[in-house]
Amino acid sequence: MSAATATASLPQRRAGARAFASLGTLTARRFQLTARTPRELVVPLLTPIMFAMVIAPALKSALHTDASYESFVALGTVGLLIPLNTMFSGLGVIVDRENGAQRELLAAPIPRPLLVLANLVVAFAITGLQVAVLLAVATARRINFDPTVAGIFWFVAAAALFAIGMYGVAEILANRVPRQEEYIARVPAIAILPWFLAGSLFPISAMPTGLTWIAKFLPLTHGLALMRYGLLGDRSGLHHIWGMGDATAMAALSLLVLVVFATALTAGSIRVFTRSALR
């Protein structure tokens, strides 16, 4: 039988609809696997909630700052929650490869990038849920935010793009390291170290000049500045990065940085996965 004849005999569903249906199946599978691992849902949430609920009020009291510092730190903890959660999600890739059904999925008649995109959809959804929980708990603790419609857009866009980019980092790392132990060992350097440099607990201008310059190149710095601009109306983070007067222009530039970050890391993660999957 020739390839052309065989092609003609295949179901004539459009490729787009077929890919969308496969993505739905893979996403549902990943959701089910994640729901059976409460560790992935709960653990990343613990540290940020402790920061927002316990450490920020304690710092406010000890340092005699005002209520706005609690809001500043509460949003800073979003910058810890997103990397922690996405990195934990990346562990599922290693489990799939070592003890799961990844080889079966690689033998399935679906484009292999869908495997990465399905994992991304689930990591993104869980991260969104956790950010919502964090903000709800902070609000219940009477930490004030000042959202506007435009502000919510900036916040959601920044958080979403940063989460997408960080999942790309997690997927790349998971496909580069052979074992879970090695993956876990790298998480602090990727998820926690930048958090201290990116203006999470204090403005980046408070650091030595060299570190301030390094911070300007971290996607998290742009993400946090945008989130605070969105929910607190605080443009100082953007100003410390760009030094411009027009807040909207600075916000757009930082958003562009995050778009590039998310796009590059997602494309990179798909490339690394498909290469590592095909020996």
Binding site: S2, A6, R13, Q32, A107
Partner: protein, 310 residues
């Protein structure tokens, strides 16, 4: 249904796992790739299932080149892997359902087909339990059921019974033998168990060090050794004993040694003259005759004769 021509795989680091192999498998045929670990069997299956990229050569499934049309090739095939490849925290049914969805089985057919396969493979009582609670044999039966959910035209079984205890292995061989009744399905099986290959396969390719060194039906392969073989446990060097027998014209090129055992295909010759000569030479501690098996074919082709020639 499967066409493989000059297929070769050179891994990074210079290891040439498959060195230009050729074979064709007809529709409905059960074809075995037989060989020791490292012979290149799993690499060959990996290339046919598009998880390993061929370095050169071509492989086609139902006319689809696996390198140029991988999705089409994967759509009409299923694999049972050597290692467990399942989602252990999901139920057996969910594992089968995911396969059915990804292979685009009609939703109305999925549940009846899963129930039918679960019944055939003795999984009806287990199929709604998480796979993590299955025994090794149950899990392997589930993997076979999963591969069959999409009613593949080509089924790849990569060492399907390796690591299983003898009772479960025997049960599973019955299951695989039952697949022969699905005449529309072509099966490519790899194994290093000779009894498996002899029982299940229409034709066998024996692989050694990345090459196919013999390809024929089990009957034809056995016929190469004649009706009877002489087996000797030798004193001293088996090689010297072999040389002594060759000098006397008692054995030909097809005799081979494995450890202290010398195996001599007798073809149409009688055993009496050979036994008398062996006794006269005083080289053996034990002498027996028996019918040849695929073990003999396999050892002759992959044992020290080839190693010495390499």
């Amino acid at each position: 249904m499967i066409e493989v021509h000059n297929l070769r795989k050179l891994y990074a680091g210079g290891v040439e796992a498959v060195k230009g192999i050729d074979f064709d498998v007809a529709p409905g045929e059960v074809f075995g790739l037989l060989g020791p670990n490292g012979a290149g069997k799993s690499t060959t299956i990996g290339m046919l299932t598009t998880t390993i990229a061929p370095t050169s050569g071509t492989a086609r499934l139902a006319g689809f080149d696996v390198a140029k049309h991988p999705l089409a090739a994967r759509r009409l095939s299923s694999v049972v892997f050597q290692e467990p490849v399942v989602d252990r925290s999901l139920t057996g049914r969910r594992n089968l359902d995911i396969h059915a969805r990804l292979w685009e089985v009609d939703e109305r057919e999925t549940k009846p087909r899963i129930d039918e396969l679960a019944a055939i493979l003795g999984l009806s009582e287990l199929v709604d339990r998480p796979v993590g609670s299955y025994s090794g044999g149950e899990r392997r039966r589930l993997e076979i059921a999963r591969a069959l959910v999409s009613n593949p035209r080509v089924l790849f079984l990569d060492e399907p019974t390796v690591g299983l205890d003898p009772r479960i292995r025997a049960e599973l061989l019955d299951v695989i033998a039952g697949l022969r009744s699905r005449r529309e399905m072509t099966v490519l099986l790899t194994t290093h168990y000779l009894d498996e290959a002899e029982r299940l396969c229409d034709r066998i390719a024996i692989m050694h060090a990345g090459r196919i060194v013999a390809l024929d039906t089990p009957v034809a392969l056995l016929a190469e050794l004649g009706r009877e073989i002489l087996e000797l446990r030798v004193k001293g060097s088996p090689r010297e004993a072999l040389d002594a027998l060759r000098t006397r014209g008692i054995v030909g090129d097809e005799a081979f040694t494995v450890g202290a055992t010398l195996t001599v295909p007798l073809h149409d010759a009688g055993a009496g003259d050979a036994i008398a000569a062996v006794n006269e030479l005083g080289i053996a501690t034990a002498i027996s005759t028996r019918q040849p098996t695929l073990d003999d074919v396999y050892l002759r082709l992959t044992g020290d004769r080839l190693a010495a020639a390499a």
